[in-house]
């Protein structure tokens, strides 16, 4: 069970406030309930745009079972033309946006990193191209929560 208390929202979101203005500023409880987390995720994606599911064009590689929620490796590759940025979101985390990758001209639409998941849930990869916002998702089961 994750020992998550005291959301330090403002400090933690300094760099990502533009993307992750989700959730209510009054939320001060521990790890979000499933309903609150789903709301936060939905709100975050709403502020990003109208996403279109593109499971074939965005390959999100994340283990279906990760023993340690604090170390979930993932990679994402987009074959959508004009991919400009890739955003990784997790639906069960206190803050939905985990990372944002900016892809300049001449750089492949690919990124790899390791993220934390508070508990088993869904990892989403949202891709912004010249044509709009696209996404795919994968479920990941977590043994020990990663907060």
């Amino acid at each position: 069970m994750p020992a998550c208390l005291h959301l330090r929202r403002r400090r933690a979101l300094q760099g990502l406030l533009a993307l992750a203005s989700a959730g209510s500023s009054a939320r001060s409880a521990a790890a979000p309930s499933p309903e609150a987390a789903a709301d936060a995720l939905r709100h975050t994606i709403d502020t990003m745009g109208k996403p279109v599911r593109a499971d074939a064009a965005i390959v999100l590689d994340v283990p279906s079972v990760a023993e340690d929620g604090a170390l979930v490796p993932l990679s994402v590759a987009s074959s959508l033309p004009g991919t400009r940025e890739i955003v990784i979101l997790v639906d069960v985390n206190p803050h939905p946006v985990a990372a944002r990758f900016v892809i300049p001209e001449g750089t492949d639409a690919f990124a790899a990193t390791r993220i934390r998941m508070a508990r088993s849930g869904t990892v989403l990869a949202a891709v912004r191209t010249n044509a709009g916002l696209f996404f795919t998702s994968r479920s990941a089961q977590v043994g020990v929560g990663g907060c």
Partner: protein
């Protein structure tokens, strides 16, 4: 200037160039404290995490990533870019939420 709070380990950068494609894997030494962890005294350890990483070759920025508390401790960043040639230098620089910065460079062979 020595910053006693900054992690001591340099950025470990693995670069592999195969013709036009350069693949990079950077390992950054950083505690990536989420601000949600409770220490032995019962208090939350303040958030301390890398907020941005910028990779560049000369004046060309080849990759930028914004991280959050949801990125694992000792963050690994992998990316790929085109058009580099032997002899160029890849630089990776990070900034954390406390304003600490660190950079590392490696030659592309």
């Amino acid at each position: 200037m020595l910053n006693v709070n900054a992690p001591a380990d340099p950025i470990r950068i693995r670069v592999r160039r195969n013709g036009d494609l350069t693949e990079v894997r950077a390992l950054i030494s950083h505690p990536m404290e989420t601000g949600l962890r409770i220490d032995a005294s019962g208090r939350a350890v303040a958030a301390h995490y890398v907020s941005e990483v910028v990779a560049s070759v000369g004046s060309r920025i080849v990759f930028t990533t914004q991280l959050s508390i949801a990125v694992s401790r000792d963050p690994i960043i992998g990316f790929r870019f085109r058009g580099a040639s032997a002899g160029q230098v890849l630089r990776i620089a990070w900034t954390d939420n406390r304003g600490h910065t660190r950079a590392g460079e490696v030659a592309i062979v």
